[in-house]
């Protein structure tokens, strides 16, 4: 099945599931039942189902349980369903009471982080793929190597050209840039101003250099462009890893507070 066909099928199933839920909820309302119990239990079940994805990822090499990618699809679309259930259950307005508000806002942040994760896992990889290929663990090593190469070129300019123009330029514009990964958010938002700024600075400097210095600055410029490319890789790949540091702890918190919320609800209506 092509990916587009799969997406269409999944959204269709989601749509049908939502229609069924809305229908049952309407029936509940007509029969004067408290529909919040229906949506609440469904929501809690969805949260458990979403959590099962984490458990499946921990099982390696089994013959059953389907592939993790199948579970991922389930996770995404049950996530969408959970958001719809949440809106049906809690409405658009924040509830009163600290306990309810806590679970309300945890759910919102968890959903937003999930949506954010989904977006970046679909948007960033193609962009990173077209920007060269480098393993995350190799980026810092490669950047250090570039910094060393630039430093050597600057030293060469001092000894060979008897001029400190390139060295001054290096100290003013390049040193801090080369020290570690830079411009994280500018890269994430594909903000091109950084590279334009460097191009302008190099261009300005060019007219004050002789032939020998120009050879050196050409080499430095190539290395700076490569460093900038690695910065982009670092920013993109970091974000693809780091968003989970928000999403996963929130999922545990959500699970915990949802169960607490359920216990409180049943305690107050005399169910426990």
């Amino acid at each position: 099945m092509k990916l587009q066909q799969r997406r269409l099928l999944n959204f269709s199933l989601l749509f049908v599931a939502l229609l069924i839920i809305l229908f049952i909820q309407q029936l509940n309302q007509y029969s004067l039942n408290h529909s919040a119990f229906f949506t609440g239990w469904l929501l809690l079940s969805s949260i458990f189902l979403l959590y099962l994805f984490t458990l499946r990822k921990k099982i390696v090499g089994g013959k059953i349980f389907f592939k993790v990618s199948t579970w991922m699809q389930l996770h995404i679309y049950v996530g969408f369903l959970a958001v719809a259930l949440f809106l049906l259950h809690a409405g658009w307005k924040a509830p009163e009471g600290v306990a309810k508000q806590l679970v309300y806002f945890i759910f919102i942040f968890e959903s937003l982080s999930g949506l954010f994760g989904l977006c970046i896992t679909r948007i960033l990889p193609p962009s990173l793929a077209r920007n060269g290929s480098v393993l995350y663990q190799d980026i810092k090593g490669q950047q250090q190597h570039i910094a060393q190469q630039v430093e050597q070129l600057v030293e060469r300019s001092l000894t060979q050209t008897d001029s400190n123009t390139i060295a001054t330029f290096y100290r003013q514009f390049l040193l801090s840039f080369l020290l570690r990964p830079r411009n994280f958010w500018q890269h994430i938002f594909q903000y091109k101003k950084i590279i334009y700024k460097f191009e302008a600075e190099f261009s300005n400097l060019y007219r004050y250099l002789n032939e020998e210095e120009r050879h050196i600055i050409d080499e430095i410029q190539t290395l700076v462009i490569e460093k900038n490319r690695l910065d982009y890789q670092y920013a993109g790949q970091s974000l693809l890893k780091r968003w989970l540091f928000v999403h996963i702890p929130l999922s545990y918190a959500l699970l915990l507070f949802s169960v607490l919320h359920l216990m409180l609800v049943y305690a107050y209506i005399g169910g426990i």
């Binding site: 092509k2 390696v60 090499g61 592939k67 993790v68 077209r130 290929s133 393993l135 890893k241």
Partner: protein, 546 residues
């Protein structure tokens, strides 16, 4: 630091039962009696090869010696008794791939039953297969269904030399004593003895010719007599180098195109002098574009070249030349059946519906795959892989779940690197591809790196690997690495003589012990990683175009 003796080639012989007396008896048989000890080197003495790289196996009447479809690297020689090849429609293939998926149980329970009774009885305690009593009776009543193997003649050499599957089922007609010669022994006997080398090569040609003619779809309906005529007029040719990885690696390191080392088998615009059948290996199909060659596909074992042109000319009376060029990728065995023979014995008996479309100047070949990708896959010879790890970089988030899954099943050490050759938006990673033509097997001194019998996965036996690095050097894709051996408490094992670390070859084993789908593919959350059989063009094209 723990020090041990460095393992050696014959530490684990093929059989421990090969006493000096048995070795002497084996060497006195007609097929081997001409061998002269002096022709062999001191490091690889004749007696040593027979004692360590061969074994004697006793088969009862009806037991299967070789089963068609299974992978095997050894050759056989009947010492006593009689063996025969099953032929005709009964030489069916076993399932070479495990059935997978949710309904695998139901799929696996289906079995072929061509004659209304089971052909084989279940494995006995020695894991051997026996022809069922009904089948044995049937074969005896119909002698046309088997061919007796000549005494003192080798067999099983096709799979050994082509590094592929067994091409026929051989069974013991009477209680038999068989000498099984492991690939390492066969290779060294061929290397040091010209007579055995010539004998095996001649047999390989004769057997391949017959098998390939019978396997070719549009020749399969021909009568035995017509096939015999084709057989007599066919030529067996080979192109390229048996150990092609050497020139390929050298060229790859220089960064040159490999086209220059791919010998031309047939050239575009040349007169169609015959039909070519690919017996083993791969061949590149290309078309001239301006001053270059555009790859438009590749042929593998069982494919044919020139049939469209021959059929076109036969039907229209035209004299169309070859529409494409054919080049040997690595090492290729082909059968060339002259045009006159094809017209006389094959085309005349084919129905119009069985003939290909008439050629109208347009290319009938269209795999539906981007030609740039196809070109690169052929250029880098990734088409050799039966489980090539391909990562769709548009979907890969670099989460490394694949690497972690692999490591968790292999003592904390992943058996592949997520890095690899970039082709368009795909990455062909450094993971063993379980090649159709596994050149890594050729030089292994102990047979530690070998194919598993039924599935054909290339696996390394840690117990027999002596850490010579031969396979790692031979692998044209750099997918085998040498790793230090650690003790249970994490110490590096060292050679007691020189203190250097003891190494073993390490590579992907497709998680053969842990389930039907490799852990890497199973663990990928984004459907970015897939193990693709490059021999199945339709299947991998579907994935590339998903």
């Amino acid at each position: 630091m723990t020090k041990v003796r460095r393992p050696k080639r014959w530490d684990n012989p093929f059989s421990k039962d090969m006493s000096d007396a048995i070795v002497a008896r084996v060497l006195s048989t007609k097929a081997l009696s001409h061998l002269e000890t002096d022709n062999f080197s001191d490091g690889l003495p004749l007696n040593g090869i027979i004692a360590n790289d061969t074994r004697i196996v006793h088969f009862k009447a009806g037991e299967v010696i070789i089963r068609k479809g299974e992978y095997g690297g050894s050759a056989f020689l009947t010492l006593s008794g009689e063996a025969a090849i099953i032929k005709g429609e009964f030489e069916f293939e076993i399932k070479t791939k495990k059935t997978t998926g949710f309904f695998s149980f139901f799929k696996a329970s289906k079995s072929k039953n061509l004659l209304g009774f089971p052909l084989f009885s279940t494995h006995n305690k020695e894991e051997r297969l026996t022809l069922s009593p009904h089948f044995q009776e049937f074969i005896q009543q119909h002698p046309d269904n088997y061919i007796n193997l000549e005494a003192n003649s080798f067999y099983g050499e096709i799979a050994a030399l082509a590094r592929g599957t067994r091409t026929a089922t051989v069974f013991a007609k009477t209680d038999s004593e068989i000498l099984e010669i492991g690939w390492q022994g066969l290779r060294d006997l061929m290397r040091y003895d010209i007579k055995i080398r010539e004998q095996i090569r001649t047999l390989y040609k004769q057997h391949s010719l017959l098998i390939q003619l019978r396997k070719t779809k549009f020749l399969s309906h021909l009568k035995a007599e017509q096939l015999q005529h084709l057989n007599e007029q066919s030529l067996f040719e080979n192109y390229g180098q048996f150990e092609w990885q050497r020139s390929f690696n050298a060229l790859k390191n220089k960064g040159d195109s490999v086209l220059s080392i791919e010998p031309i088998i047939a050239k575009q615009e040349d007169y169609v002098d015959g039909l070519l059948l690919i017996c083993s290996g791969f061949a590149r199909l290309s078309k001239t574009v301006n001053h270059g060659e555009k790859t438009i596909g590749y042929l593998k074992q069982g494919d044919t070249f020139g049939f469209e042109e021959l059929a076109h000319n036969y039907r229209t009376g035209a004299s169309l030349s070859y529409q494409h060029s054919l080049r040997a990728i690595g090492y290729v065995d082909i059968i060339r059946i002259p045009t006159s023979a094809v017209e006389k014995y094959a085309l005349e008996y084919l129905d119009e519906g069985d003939l290909p479309l008439l050629l109208n100047g347009k290319d009938n070949l269209d795999y539906g795959l981007d030609t740039g990708i196809l070109e690169q896959l052929v250029e880098h010879r990734f088409i050799n892989g039966s489980s090539t790890m391909v990562i769709d970089r548009d979907r890969c988030t670099g989460c490394d779940d694949c690497v972690s899954a692999c490591a968790s099943l292999h003592d904390g050490q992943a058996r592949f690197s997520r890095h690899g050759t970039i082709i368009d938006k795909y990455s062909i990673t450094h993971a063993c591809m379980h090649c159709t033509d596994p050149v890594c097997l050729i030089g292994c001194p102990t047979g530690a790196i070998h194919r598993s019998g039924q599935l054909g996965n290339i696996i390394v036996d840690d117990n027999t690997c002596i850490g010579c690095s031969g396979c790692a050097t031979s692998c044209p894709y750099e997918n085998i690495v040498m790793r230090e051996v650690l003790t249970d408490d994490g110490q590096v094992l060292l050679d007691e003589q020189n203190g250097s670390p003891i190494l073993k070859a390490s590579k992907c084993d497709l998680c053969i012990q842990h389930g039907s789908i490799p852990a890497c593919e199973q663990a990928c959350p984004h459907d970015a990683l897939k193990r693709l059989d490059m021999g199945n063009i339709a299947s991998f094209t579907d994935w590339f175009n998903r």
